[in-house]
């Protein structure tokens, strides 16, 4: 089993290629890998409960761990109470801990 960390920086409502990340992350999870998606920058805009059409619930249902950068959330005025279930506010320090684990592959998108 490998660890995959996807760092999603893109706004899914601006670019459809975030679909690539969803398909890849879910497939890797189905192959028994540990998969985390870390949302950063405009990637956190999909976190809001009212973000109709967000791809994040699908990832959560597939068992992909979802973390959102607290700095990016703060910049965009997104409070924890507004966030879709299954997404945990996190930090760059936590991302670095994930990256520093052995047998981890990091993919920026």
């Amino acid at each position: 089993m490998s660890h995959y960390v996807f760092i999603e920086s893109r706004d899914p409502f601006e670019t459809r290629d975030t679909r690539f990340l969803v398909d890849t992350a879910i497939t890797l999870k189905q192959l028994d890998n540990e998969v985390t998606v870390f949302l950063v920058q405009n990637g956190v805009l999909a976190c809001r409960k009212k973000a109709v059409g967000s791809h994040l619930p699908e990832l959560a249902r597939a068992g992909v761990a979802l973390l959102a950068d607290d700095f990016s959330l703060c910049e965009r005025g997104i409070q924890a109470a507004e966030m879709t279930a299954g997404i945990q506010p996190s930090s760059i320090d936590s991302l670095v801990d994930l990256l520093a684990r052995e047998n981890t592959k990091a993919i920026w998108h």
């Binding site: 760092i7 920086s9 893109r10 950063v40 920058q41 405009n42 950068d69 700095f71 760059i92 320090d93 991302l95 670095v96 801990d97 990256l99 520093a100 684990r101 052995e102 981890t104 592959k105 990091a106 920026w108």
Partner: protein, 135 residues
């Protein structure tokens, strides 16, 4: 964490993308945890460390250079190199051809000149490698 090394490849020029801010945050966090960091700056990212960057006043608000206290990426890079000058170690390599194209040879102290082969070697010897491309 002292036996760990993280390598980042950066491509965005300064003042263009939030990618630069996030990348510098990752470098700062890793160094604070005692993780060695390699940065390979490619294409426009070689200008992140360009020494001739100057803070400016804000004529719209009528503020002076001092009042505006405008942050420059060269100062961020210099601070990170100071933080990573020993153990942990920050190694910052600018792509030489990218530097020459942009006339950006005057970098802050501690920045090295290299090429993609250096990035390959860094990646081979690292715990993890993160490539942050332009969109």
């Amino acid at each position: 964490m002292h036996n760990k090394t993280l390598t980042l490849a950066l491509m965005d020029p300064p003042y263009e993308s939030a990618n630069s801010t996030t990348a510098l945050r990752i470098v700062a966090s890793a160094l604070s945890k005692g993780i060695n960091v390699n940065v390979f700056a490619y294409e426009g990212a070689v200008n992140l460390a360009f020494k001739d960057q100057a803070p400016h006043a804000n004529p719209v608000k009528g503020t002076t250079v001092e009042e505006e206290d405008h942050p420059t990426t060269k100062n961020f890079v210099a601070s990170l190199l100071e933080l990573g000058k020993g153990d942990p170690l920050l190694t910052w390599v600018n792509c030489g051809l990218c530097v020459d194209e942009r006339g950006a040879a005057n970098s802050v102290d501690g920045v090295k000149r290299g090429g993609p082969a250096d990035f390959f070697k860094m990646a081979q010897e690292s715990t993890a490698t993160l490539v942050i491309p332009t969109k």
